[in-house]
Symmetry: C2
Subunit: 85 residues, 2 copies
């Protein structure tokens, strides 16, 4: 794979993985989850868990690492949504 393609993939994975960090911090700080969709976080957490299984089945470290990080923050947001709603 050309270096430019690999770099774009790595940057893409970093952005979509780390995007959930500021949302988790915001929910922890404000406890305001009224605007967050429960269906979104249930569906997203299931999806990321399946990506993790998929990565494990393929033995693909990039998929495993990216989704293992994402699942932590998605699960925190989901848990706080359930707690504060």
């Amino acid at each position: 794979m050309p270096l430019i393609t690999e770099s774009i993939g790595l940057l893409a994975a970093t952005c979509t993985t780390m995007a959930f960090v500021p949302q988790a911090i915001k929910v922890i700080r404000t406890r305001n989850t009224a605007g967050l969709s429960l269906s979104m976080y249930v569906c997203f957490t299931i999806g990321v868990s399946l990506w993790l299984v998929y990565g494990c089945l393929l033995g693909d470290t990039a998929i495993i690492v990216a989704n293992a990080i994402t699942i932590v923050f998605a699960a925190i947001i989901l848990a706080l949504k359930l707690l504060y709603s």
Copy 2:
């Protein structure tokens, strides 16, 4: 790739792509974006755009389709967050 692995990947992609639909519907209906993190949606929309570029560079239809759908809903949520904040 074994059928079970491919099926898990397809289900994972469907879940993480469609997860943003209920959030977009919720924002359109309630106009409540106070709890949504602007940083999350800026970072996520950039990330999904990069995944789309990555898919195009690889010529990978699954990556292109999944991210082309996701970007629509992520961009709607981002635009309404900017509009209503």
